[in-house]
């Protein structure tokens, strides 16, 4: 769908490049995750792909054609779900959707979408009376109202309760199931694990790693056993020890420990994407 080659971008006001030469591909029909700490240029990259910034160097193609060669019709098949609320607050949900629908050739059944995300009852309410989560769900419906082929989503489950987050995630999977392509920006590793076919980690304007979530876990992950035990049975001071899960039965230290010490807890640990995030980006997640 998209092919990005050596993309570099500098905001006019800044001295340094914000995007410092990145290359990646978003394949048709996949959910591609763009991850990274705050301020590394994820949104900037997204803005380039949705043609909001055009003073970049490097090459970006959409469906094998230079992105710059597309006119406004590009947006006929693109849906953008913003993180911030982007609706006319003095209009109702319905009025907002009706207005935007008229700008597109193809229209989705927004009543059905509203029902799915649980907003149908509230469709005639002014958006200013919506809660944060309701606005987020309305953003998602808006992104789908033109039956897009390519969907850009920025933190789509942000601020949603687990039930609604579930609904949105299921709808994203369905969108993909119907042949849609998605670029997903998020900080929530659970969402990435569940939804993304491939992820790119961005660090300081560059991409440090692109792979499937599974491969990343294989590559960076270790399977370990964490044991918490009492050093002396006399006091309550506990200590922790870690052992590789592999060939645990032949690990003399491990065997010695469980034979001689009083065990408080014992857990097997798999590196999750959160740990990989920190390892790959070198940054503690701050959001």
């Amino acid at each position: 769908m998209f092919k990005v080659q050596d993309l570099q971008f500098k905001y006019p006001k800044n001295k340094e490049n914000t995007i410092k030469g990145i290359s990646f591909e978003i394949k048709e029909g996949e959910i591609f995750g763009l991850l990274g700490p705050s301020g590394v240029g994820k949104s900037t990259t997204q803005k380039v792909l949705i043609k909001l910034l055009d003073q970049y160097s490097g090459e970006v193609t959409y469906k094998e054609q230079n992105l710059k060669s597309y006119g406004k019709d590009f947006y006929q098949e693109v849906g953008v779900g913003f993180e911030m609320p982007v609706h006319f607050s003095k209009l109702t949900a319905e009025e907002n959707l009706t207005f935007f629908k008229k700008l597109y050739k193809s229209n989705a059944d927004t009543d059905e979408l509203l029902m799915r995300v649980g907003l149908y009852e509230d469709r005639n309410k002014q958006v200013s009376e919506f809660s944060k989560g309701m606005k987020g769900r309305l953003n998602f419906v808006r992104a789908l109202l033109n039956n897009p082929k390519m969907l850009f989503l920025d933190e789509p489950t942000n601020g949603l309760d687990p039930k609604n987050a579930r609904i949105i995630k299921d709808m994203i999977k369905e969108f993909k199931g119907n042949g849609g392509t998605v670029l997903l920006t998020t900080h929530l590793m659970n969402d990435v694990d569940e939804l993304c076919d491939r992820v790119a980690f961005m660090v300081d304007g560059k991409i440090s790693e692109i792979d499937t979530p599974k491969n990343l876990k294989l590559k960076h992950g270790q399977k370990q056993v964490e044991i918490e035990y009492l050093e002396n049975t006399g006091n309550n001071e506990t200590k922790k020890a870690f052992f590789d899960l592999e060939e645990l039965g032949m690990n003399e230290q491990f065997l010695e420990l469980i034979r001689t010490k009083e065990i408080v807890t014992i857990h097997s640990k798999e590196t999750n994407l959160d740990d990989i995030f920190i390892k790959v980006t070198g940054v503690e997640k701050n959001e």
């Binding site: 006019p12 909001l52 910034l53 006929q76 993180e83 911030m84 982007v86 006319f88 009025e95 700008l103």
Partner: protein, 241 residues
């Protein structure tokens, strides 16, 4: 073009919902108050004056206010990723603005017609308002591009009013008699606006009318090109995803 129509009607709907049209009607009531309290019964000469103030300042203000709402609510972002061109966006907004100015014209004209005496060329003043309001809508775009916030926008409008609008009003009232300054005023768009509006009541030289039309048409064209160019910069700034 279909998109322009959608954007234009959407703009009017929102001007109503956000009470921008209401505010504009309140301003019309102020002008009616002025007409009511004038001693003269034939208001043909002060009528263009009121519309001069309205078509210039309200145009700038309304573009500023509606775009300010779009910035504040982030809807400008949504519009920027919709299949509309910036030309459609700019023109639709200016058209909605012109409509609101025309409404004011008719409200005032009806009042004057029923309760006072008025003898002006209605088609002439109609066309004058279209072009004056279009020009000043574009000024409104420029002011909005360069304003950080709403206060900034108001300050920009104040400056425009003091430098461009007030001297022309003073001259119209005969308060500026300096020959050099009078000549200098032909260089400002507000003078051309005033002349065109006054022309509907008569007493304006033909060459002044032609000069004013040429000024505003060429001025609007140039200004449109600049507004359109600068739109990309504005869009990049407002498009935070």
């Amino acid at each position: 073009m279909n998109n322009i129509l959608v954007l234009f009607t959407g703009e009017l709907e929102r001007m109503k919902k956000y009470h921008v049209l209401g505010a504009s009607l309140v301003v019309s009531l102020i002008w009616i108050g002025v007409l009511y309290f004038t001693e003269i019964s034939d208001v043909s000469n002060i009528f263009p004056l009121l519309l001069y103030i309205d078509a210039t300042s309200m145009s700038m203000l309304m573009i500023g206010v509606t775009m300010f709402f779009e910035k504040q609510e982030g809807t400008i972002k949504t519009l920027l990723v919709s299949p509309i061109s910036k030309a459609e966006y700019i023109v639709a907004k200016a058209l909605a603005n012109i409509v609101s100015n025309i409404v004011t014209l008719f409200v005032l004209y009806l009042y004057a017609w029923f309760f006072k005496e008025i003898d002006i060329n209605l088609i002439g003043i109609f066309l004058a308002i279209v072009i004056v309001a279009f020009f000043h809508s574009l000024i409104g775009f420029m002011l909005t591009y360069y304003s950080k916030d709403f206060t900034d926008l108001l300050m920009g409008m104040m400056k425009y009013a003091f430098v461009m609008m007030v001297p022309v009003i003073l001259e119209t009232f005969g308060l500026i008699s300096n020959n050099f300054i009078q000549k200098l005023l032909y260089a400002v768009p507000t003078k051309a606006s005033m002349l065109l509006l006054q022309a509907s009541a008569g007493g304006i030289e033909a060459w002044e009318i032609y000069l004013s039309i040429a000024y505003l048409v060429i001025g609007s064209t140039l200004l449109y090109v600049i507004v359109s160019r600068k739109f990309d910069e504005f869009a990049a700034k407002e498009s935070g995803v």
